[in-house]
């Protein structure tokens, strides 16, 4: 466990993809079976522990520490698992047990009874060091956020044998933790595991952000345009195995299986004998809902019938990757598109429709369509931008150059905290509709919010009422028409702000000015402490100046 913990600890701070890969590969190369297999399972989201709730952990620490000291510490650290990991007192005698291995933890938790769990957990915590305790608590409470996707972990495994990560994807869904045959195969000690999965994930094709100069070199006639919807990019696959059983699976764009979160979609698309690349959206009465609404569904831990009625999900199809066992990915886009249109019409399934093509003849015309996606009809609000796809291009995994481009409506977004609100003008004069928002920075007196901009639009009338109500309820000070609104680490309102660009400014306290900021989303779900920091904007500014081409 301590080795796995050290890996997690390092990954949690490492921003570079290549360095993460190296750390993962080093671990997979040097850790033994089954430790490395369970590590891979943890990274790919293939482990879940129903039994361990934060309540158990709170009770354990309460038995062992002074409540005042715990309160001060928790307040300072701001994270339960971390506070407990750091504060956990050394046992009075040297611990009887060796620190548990990851395998021991995983295997024990799979079988242990509820009543035995607290004492077992306490023994483990006694035996582990601070980092080990942190990793254990994060692992069992499901709070492991270390910025490693399933795809990245599989890429690291593939690198052990010099394989392409897609080869891991091909066999992945027939495998289970701790993946001993998989490691044996990549290390050349065993046969290729046989994938029995009739509904495998196919690595997703991604787009580059389009640059101004691209328009000078690209010919509009070579491209097809379609709306980019503001949901979750998914792949839905359904097929029949050798025994005649039909399997339907839903994957995220990184290959994580999310079937269990969307039984409604999977049921509706059961047996289509195809692989579809599309966008998962919440659709009510034929109308796509904002990402906000989708997120409300994503935030719920359990899938209930009520939730499925309230937030009905559907897939809007972009591409057809396979049909009736035929791999269509080598075909040119124009050909796949024609087949997709025919397929969607013929399938006639609920919860599946076609993402329409945006007709255009020149870039100016497309720019206009992008600015006012009224052509998308009632769903205009759910349009995130435009996708450009080369008509003659095959479906290639990863992010090949010059083939697909995304042209977002809002090139930049940042999560900021509402600090001040002012009454509006005209018909909005009775509402607090002008918002000053800030991001975090480290000031002379510690963490503080620094204002970075002001926005007056971007929200719906309904959202205006919600914010207005929030402002009135949470005013902490008044200056004429301006109200100061509560903005503390754990109290306040987070606004997702979209903007067109950034510039240096000496007039603003933050030293930055935003161009055309607008509220793109209300993040009621986010505590202010998780809003962005000034460094994020600084970085954006620096990148824009030096390396515009590297936007992911």
């Amino acid at each position: 466990m301590n080795r796995f913990a050290a890996l997690l600890d390092r990954l949690a701070y490492e921003p570079r993809r290549n360095a993460k890969l190296r750390l993962l590969a080093d671990h997979f190369r040097t850790a033994a079976d089954p430790e490395r297999g369970y590590a891979l399972a943890a990274m790919t989201g293939s482990l879940s522990f129903a039994a361990a709730k934060p309540g158990i952990i709170r009770a354990l620490i309460a038995e062992r520490t002074d409540p005042v000291l715990f309160g001060l510490s928790y307040d300072y650290v701001g994270d339960l698992s971390e506070t407990v990991a750091l504060m956990w007192p050394a046992p009075p005698h040297a611990p009887e047990d060796e620190p548990p291995s990851l395998s021991e933890v995983v295997e024990t938790l799979a079988s242990i009874g509820r009543t035995e769990l607290p004492s077992r957990l306490a023994r483990w915590l006694d035996a582990l060091d601070e980092t080990g305790r942190w990793a254990l608590l994060k692992l069992i409470t499901g709070g492991l956020r270390i910025g490693v996707s399933a795809r990245l972990a599989k890429t690291a495994v593939a690198s052990l044998g010099g394989f392409d990560p897609d080869e891991i994807e091909h066999v992945w869904h027939g495998l289970e933790p701790p993946y001993v045959p998989l490691f044996a195969w990549v290390e050349g000690r065993g046969p290729r595991p046989v994938s029995q999965d009739p509904a495998p994930f196919r690595p997703v094709m991604l787009a580059h952000a389009i640059e101004d100069r691209d328009f000078e070199t690209l010919d509009p006639a070579d491209f097809s345009a379609e709306w980019k919807w503001d949901g979750i990019r998914v792949q839905v696959v359904s097929g029949t195995d050798a025994e005649g059983r039909v399997r339907t699976r839903l994957y995220s764009r990184t290959g994580e299986e999310i079937t269990r979160s969307f039984p409604d979609v999977c049921e509706a698309l059961h047996g289509i004998e195809a692989a579809i690349d599309g966008e998962l959206l919440v659709v009510r009465d034929g109308r796509v809902q904002s990402f906000n609404i989708l997120q409300q569904r994503l935030n719920r831990a359990a899938v209930t019938p009520k939730m499925m009625t309230e937030f009905p999900a559907a897939v809007r199809a972009y591409d057809l990757l396979a049909r009736d066992g035929e791999d269509l990915r080598p075909l040119p886009f124009a050909e796949r598109r024609a087949r997709l249109e025919a397929f969607v019409a013929q399938a006639g399934r609920d919860r599946l429709d076609l993402s329409p093509v945006v007709p255009f003849s020149d870039w100016e015309g497309l720019a206009e369509a992008r600015l006012s996606p009224a052509a998308a009809g009632a769903d205009a609000e759910a349009v995130e931008g435009i996708m450009l796809k080369r008509r003659d291009a095959a479906y290639l995994p990863g992010r090949p150059k010059g083939v697909w481009f995304k042209w977002k409506r809002d090139p930049h977004v940042v999560d900021a905290v509402l600090m001040y609100a002012q009454r509006g003008h005209g018909k909005r004069s009775s509402f607090y509709s002008d918002y000053t928002f800030g991001v975090w920075r480290t000031g002379a007196a510690g963490e503080e919010l620094v204002p970075v901009g002001k926005a007056y639009f971007g929200f719906t009338d309904e959202e205006l009422l919600q914010i207005d109500r929030f402002v009135r309820k949470h005013t902490v000070d008044r200056f004429g028409p301006v109200r100061e609104v509560i903005h503390e680490p754990h109290a306040g309102l987070v606004l997702e702000v979209a903007f067109e660009g950034l510039a240096r400014s000496t007039r603003h306290k933050s030293g930055l000015a935003m161009r055309f900021p607008r509220i793109s989303r209300l993040r009621w779900d986010k505590p202010p402490i998780e809003a962005d920091r000034i460094e994020t904007l600084e970085r954006l500014l620096a990148e824009n100046r030096t390396d515009r081409a590297s936007e992911p």
Partner: protein, 345 residues
């Protein structure tokens, strides 16, 4: 004599009326006793300064000769009479030259410990507990979440990273006085025998450590020409340089930071540190508590840092404790991340 008759709080800092001197004053005074060379404790412009020879030398290096009207060396353990008061300097284990100051009169002894630590440090004399009636302690890491790990494990983590990323320079932010030299010494103990590179801002103090017989192996100052060729090297720099243009010239650097604050993840993340090393020159929570027990004082005064938790802990042990709420100390050697840039170096 009551303790507050012997030492009281004034805007300039702790004041001993019977002896007519201040300890670590934050503004110029006629007579100052200085615990150690960090800039929040040792300031220029006092009339007379009494401190250890090393602390006086460090002040001279930082502020220039003539930083005080006159100076006097205090030998560790030697009693010095000032007016009706006897003072004695005892090692504090914080940085080279650091001392606690015991002040004694009328059968009452108060120990002002300045900044101190109990953990291993090959570059200075270890802390020595001094029995007293009143113990004045810092509380920089005065919360039970601050429990510093074995520094040798932290250095091992750094060296493991150097082995895994041999093409990258490892830039370690460390404060110029004490932390930087301690880290180099720990690297040597861990068997790292190649040259260690230092930022120019660390040169003067590192040379001083060398001149005092601290063995740091081969030290090279980083020059502009070297920067691209430093793949796989350990480069020690002041924390503020981690974010500078200076650091961007290195080959794909790994940014590390050696500080007790690195124990808390949110703090490390704020600074964009990729390899946080929990290495502190201050006592951690367990050592603060242990030290208070060892000196046997019935009364504890808590100076700068996280006073509340420590005062609460003392009270729960039946000790009289009070926070001094002193302003002006936020140690240069280990300020909260972000404040470092503002502090004089």
């Amino acid at each position: 004599m009551r303790p507050t008759d012997l030492l009281s709080i004034t805007p300039a800092g702790l004041y001993c009326a019977p002896g007519g001197f201040h300890i670590d004053p934050v503004r110029p005074v006629p007579r100052a006793l200085i615990t150690h060379g960090h800039s929040d404790h040792a300031r220029a412009g006092h009339g007379a300064v009494l401190a250890t020879a090393d602390t006086l030398a460090i002040m001279g290096l930082r502020y220039g000769e003539g930083f005080a009207g006159s100076t006097q060396e205090a030998a560790l353990g030697e009693a010095i009479r000032i007016g009706d008061v006897a003072v004695r300097f005892h090692p504090a284990g914080h940085v080279l030259g650091s001392a606690q100051i015991a002040v004694e009169a009328g059968g009452l002894r108060i120990v002002a410990s300045g900044d101190y630590k109990r953990a291993a440090d090959p570059t200075c004399i270890p802390f020595e507990p001094v029995a007293c009636d009143v113990f004045i302690t810092e509380a920089t890491f005065g919360l039970p979440v601050f429990r510093h790990p074995d520094v040798r494990d932290e250095v091992r983590r750094l060296l493991a990273s150097v082995r895994l990323f041999p093409e990258r320079a490892h830039m370690v932010g460390a404060y110029a006085l004490g932390k930087a030299q301690r880290l180099i010494a720990l690297l040597r103990e861990a068997g790292h025998d190649g040259p260690v590179y230092i930022h120019g801002a660390l040169e003067k103090l590192t040379d001083f450590y060398l001149s005092r017989g601290v063995d740091l192996g081969e030290i090279r100052k980083v020059t502009a020409a070297d920067q691209a060729a430093l793949a796989g090297a350990v480069v020690i720099c002041p924390p503020s340089a981690l974010q500078d243009v200076w650091s961007r010239r290195f080959p794909d650097p790994v940014t590390a930071f050696a500080s007790g604050w690195m124990r808390v993840r949110a703090r490390a993340r704020q600074r964009g540190v990729e390899l946080p090393l929990v290495v502190s020159d201050h006592a951690d929570w367990d050592d603060l508590c242990r030290t208070i027990e060892e000196v046997g004082a019935g009364e504890i005064w808590v100076t700068h840092g996280q006073e509340d938790a420590l005062v609460h802990w003392c009270a729960s042990r039946g000790l009289r404790a009070r926070p001094l709420h002193m302003i002006g100390y936020g140690d240069e050697g280990e300020v909260e991340p972000g404040e470092a840039e503002g502090a004089p170096a």
